[in-house]
Amino acid sequence: MELLTQTFLLLKKDLLLEMRRRESLLTMFFFGTLLLFVFHFSFELVPERVAQMTPGLLWLAFLFTGTLGLAQLFEGERDNHCLEALLLSPLDRGAFFLAKTCFNFILMVLVEIVVIPMFWILFNLQSWEVVPYLFLVTVLGTVGFCVLGTLLSAVTLKARARELLLPLVLFPLMIPVILSTIRCMEAILRNGAIGDALPWLRLLVGFDVIFLTVGVLIFDWVIEV
């Protein structure tokens, strides 16, 4: 209970700061949109080909924007040594982890809410009825991405060239999430329903649960000034 109270307190603070400065959200949003344009120019996307490539392209966009967000995740705490102030306090570090994960998750979901419909509009896709299902799968994948991403973002906090190092260690570990979300989306696009994507969905949920638990347990050691 205490854990959740503290998580909520920190999350509220992060959201308030983000609402004031809007740094992360705006950059992530514009970067996501920009990527859609880059995709169009690089692949010359005609509707028949787009249908096949949709899951991969969408996830590529989320992966890159998400990494951008992760690089910024602890920057706010570094200003004015606020991270020290938090570590000095009786805060449960598991709550700190949960709050940062939730914060990054909220940012990414906000970006996804805009980018997915925009993808459909920009590439003239007709299959609007599958969008809610796709969004659901994307959200599950985003949970995994944020959990592992927050953990590794904290691990690389003190490293030189951390913006470069982070994706380097993050992407290989993220392969179960990437593969399962993309396969799920493919199955949905093929059948218009979840159907045979179920094993992938289970893997995805398993991944989310395992790393959420590991994160809460291990975060006490991860974060030090």
Partner: protein, 238 residues
């Protein structure tokens, strides 16, 4: 708070920042932590705050080992670094609200206004911290620790940014803390002021403790030790 330190040491890479440091402080002690730049003052404060792990040695708070710090132990330690540890894009009141909630001080939330009044920030409580001058930020830090009631208060060079009334405020606050039985350790280069306030003086030089004595009048041994190791700073005698 009774604070005991045994043979504390911290090395950064191949350099000792602090070596073989021991002292024992009963409740109510106000310690002046002196020494030239690079003597290890800030390292000592950060070690005591649990912000960095020691290379060797141990810290004992009220008879309990302080290793990674339980939440209860951490709640008992305050670190007053002027201008730091505040969210610049939150308002003055939001900052205090956030930290008091984090420390679970429910009654303190009601006293935020009183505390702001005492440090002279009441009329600026809705401003963002980024808009405050460094002296005002320091006053806000004082208000913050007043509300959080630490039993061990570490203070890192507060004098540089405070004006006359601010200094009064700080010293009154520290004395009140000491009367309540808290231990205060303050690092500063304003030797004269610090000596006026303290009950005990400690001098660090190149990471080693070279002087540790309770304050007395007259204090020849301090003058000798101080003159020997910090010959450039004579302002204290004024």
């Amino acid at each position: 708070m009774h604070l005991t330190v045994h043979q504390l040491a911290k090395a950064y890479g191949l350099l000792w920042a602090l070596r073989d440091f021991s002292f024992d402080l009963p409740p109510g002690e106000v310690v002046a932590l002196l020494g030239p730049n690079g003597a290890g003052k800030t390292t000592l404060l950060k070690l005591l705050a649990g912000l960095i792990p020691p290379t060797m040695g141990e810290i004992v708070l009220n008879g309990l080992q302080f290793e990674r710090g339980t939440p209860i132990q951490r709640a008992a330690i305050g670190f007053l670094a002027p201008g730091e540890h505040l969210y610049e894009n939150l308002t003055v009141r939001e900052n205090l609200h956030f930290f008091t909630s984090l420390y679970k001080k429910r009654e303190a939330i009601k006293q935020i206004d009183t505390a702001l009044g005492e440090v002279g920030l009441k009329h600026r409580s809705e401003e963002y911290v980024v808009a405050l001058s460094s002296g005002m930020k320091c006053r806000l830090s004082i208000a913050k620790w007043k509300l959080l009631e630490p039993q061990l208060l570490l203070v890192d060079e507060p004098y540089g940014v405070l004006d006359g009334s601010g200094i009064d405020l700080l010293e009154r606050f520290l004395k009140a803390e000491s009367r309540k039985g808290s231990v205060v350790i303050m690092a500063s280069h304003h030797v004269a002021r610090l000596l006026n306030l303290c009950t005990r003086a400690v001098i660090l030089h190149q990471g080693r403790l070279i002087f540790d004595e309770p304050r007395q009048q007259p204090w020849d041994s301090f003058a000798r030790a101080f003159g020997e190791f910090l010959p450039h700073e004579t302002s204290w005698s004024s």
